[in-house]
């Protein structure tokens, strides 16, 4: 899966699940401060990303370091790369 594909599908999660205007979905956008998600939304973000990318991330400690949309793209990219190596 290419990064472009990951960006497209991740942005779709933010648009569909959190009703965020696509124009706001820039890589630098801060998930909490700028996109308006809160602690409960993060649980749903994880569920939605798991479904969208067929990955398991609920118990992954790296989730805690995510701050921006770019962090999400990169995290999914790493997960997909790890998956390919297995």
């Amino acid at each position: 899966m290419t990064k472009e594909e990951i960006i497209k599908l991740t942005n779709k999660v933010f648009e569909d699940a959190f009703e965020i205007d696509p124009e706001k979905l820039t890589p630098q956008a801060k998930i909490f401060d700028e996109l308006g998600l809160d602690s409960l939304d993060i649980v749903d973000l994880i569920v939605a990303l798991q479904k969208q990318f067929k990955v398991q991330i609920r118990e992954d400690e790296r989730v805690r370091t995510i701050r921006t949309l770019e962090d999400v793209y990169n995290f999914i990219l790493i997960l997909k790369q790890e998956e390919e190596k297995k």
């Binding site: 308006g36 809160d38 409960l40 939304d41 649980v43 749903d44 569920v47 798991q50």
Partner: protein, 399 residues
């Protein structure tokens, strides 16, 4: 007053449907797939404009909570309440429902059980499913920081909510309470009555002919959905702000039959009506209209008709509104009270739709049949009964 009913959003839409003599009952698409579900009719409400509720509020709402919130928003607007009152600690809400969102509860099980996997559950599922989902969402969305409680007495939930709000105001603990109930239509809801042989099953192909409260050919209830909220306010508080006062609550009572979980109890109904009248310091002869619970079940209608006949005799006009909108369960008392008040303000006592031949066992009361009764009514009694042997009765005087 505010309501979302099978006739649409708003009390005016509700009374327009009633005055046109329409039925909101229809055959439910897709229900035929359920083995053993014999009743395929329902009275659905249309959900509209839900996206006007901000996402951060809406995400914790299942269908019934959206109905409750929209009804509450309309009730607040109708009462001309200053939004600033919400945060004084003197305004709260009591909103009931039979369960949390039936759709969300079903989805939670469908998500979790096939693989016994909780990782696919949304964080919001819990907030949709909990017993106090409607009242919690009304409070959060309207930013209320007064008393917030839920009643959970199945079909009497809204009436007990109104009774609880009335008591809080009488005790001086709150100035304004948003009270009522909400419910949603789902095969599991109708199914829960169907397994008890309490639903209408003979009219699947002629849905507009059922339910038939008090009628000879009634064969059970039809579930509906929606939300109803009434604004209860301390009298002096209302007068001081120049509120449009519709009616004054004079008395309320709720009691248990202590006898059977599903069989209706005439003695308990009689006791409840007498106690509500006693609290109102009124005699039965002073009552101008009884809005019956009457769901069109064989036993429930018989017991209620006998109870009303025992308390009021045959002179007081009586009707049930469930022929129009089905049984909106935990929302029913609030929606039906709102419709009754709106009708009375126009000088109309609405007839029981589908009541064509009074059942021999439902005789002896003043049934309103055919068309609306054009008569001034001052004192109104509203009955509400529920599984679990629960009775609840409210006595009001129109302003």
């Amino acid at each position: 007053m505010g309501s979302v009913s099978p006739f649409g959003r708003g009390v005016a839409a509700l009374t327009d449907g009633i005055e046109a003599g329409r039925s909101a009952v229809r055959k439910m698409e897709g229900w035929g797939q359920y083995l053993g579900l014999r009743s395929l009719v329902g009275a659905p409400a249309e959900m509209k404009d839900e996206k006007l509720i901000p996402r951060l509020n809406r995400r914790s709402m299942g269908r019934l909570s959206i109905f409750a919130v929209q009804a509450a928003q309309d009730a607040v607007a109708d009462a001309g309440l200053d939004p600033a009152l919400a945060t004084t600690g003197r305004m709260g809400c009591v909103v009931g429902s039979t369960t949390g969102s039936a759709i969300s509860i079903s989805q939670a099980f469908e998500t979790m059980l096939p693989d016994h996997d909780l990782t696919k559950l949304s964080s919001m599922q819990f907030f949709h499913c909990i017993s106090h989902t409607a009242t919690m969402n009304v409070a959060q969305c309207l930013k209320l920081n007064g008393w917030v409680m839920a009643t959970s007495a199945a079909c009497a939930s809204a009436m007990q909510a109104i009774g609880a709000g009335y008591d809080l105001i009488r005790l001086g603990r709150q100035d304004v309470m948003l009270c009522g109930g909400a419910e949603e239509l789902h095969p599991t809801v109708t199914g829960s009555f169907d397994v008890l042989f309490a639903t209408s099953v003979k009219y699947n192909d002629t849905p507009e002919q059922t339910p038939r409260p008090f009628d000879r050919d009634r064969d059970g209830l039809v579930c509906g959905e929606g939300g109803g909220i009434l604004v209860l306010e301390d009298y002096e508080h209302a007068v001081k702000r120049g509120a449009p006062i519709l009616a004054e609550i004079l008395g309320y009572h709720t009691c248990s039959s202590g006898d059977h979980v599903s069989e209706s109890s005439r003695p308990a109904m009689v006791t409840c009506m007498h106690e509500a009248l006693r609290a109102a310091q009124l005699e039965p002869s002073q009552v101008d209209y009884v809005n019956a619970h009457a769901t069109a079940t064989m036993q429930g209608d018989k017991e209620e008709a006998e109870a009303i006949a025992e308390v009021f005799g045959a002179k007081v006009p009586v009707s049930s509104l469930k022929g129009y909108i089905g049984h909106t369960l935990g929302a029913s008392a609030a929606i039906e009270l709102a419709a009754s008040f709106a009708g009375i303000r126009k000088g109309l006592l609405y007839p029981t739709l589908n009541l064509q031949n009074v059942s021999p066992e439902c005789q002896g009361v003043g049934h309103i049949m055919g068309g609306a009764l054009k008569r001034e009514a001052r004192v109104v009694v509203k009955n509400s009964f529920a599984f679990g042997g629960i009775s609840a009765v409210l006595v009001c005087r129109m302003s």
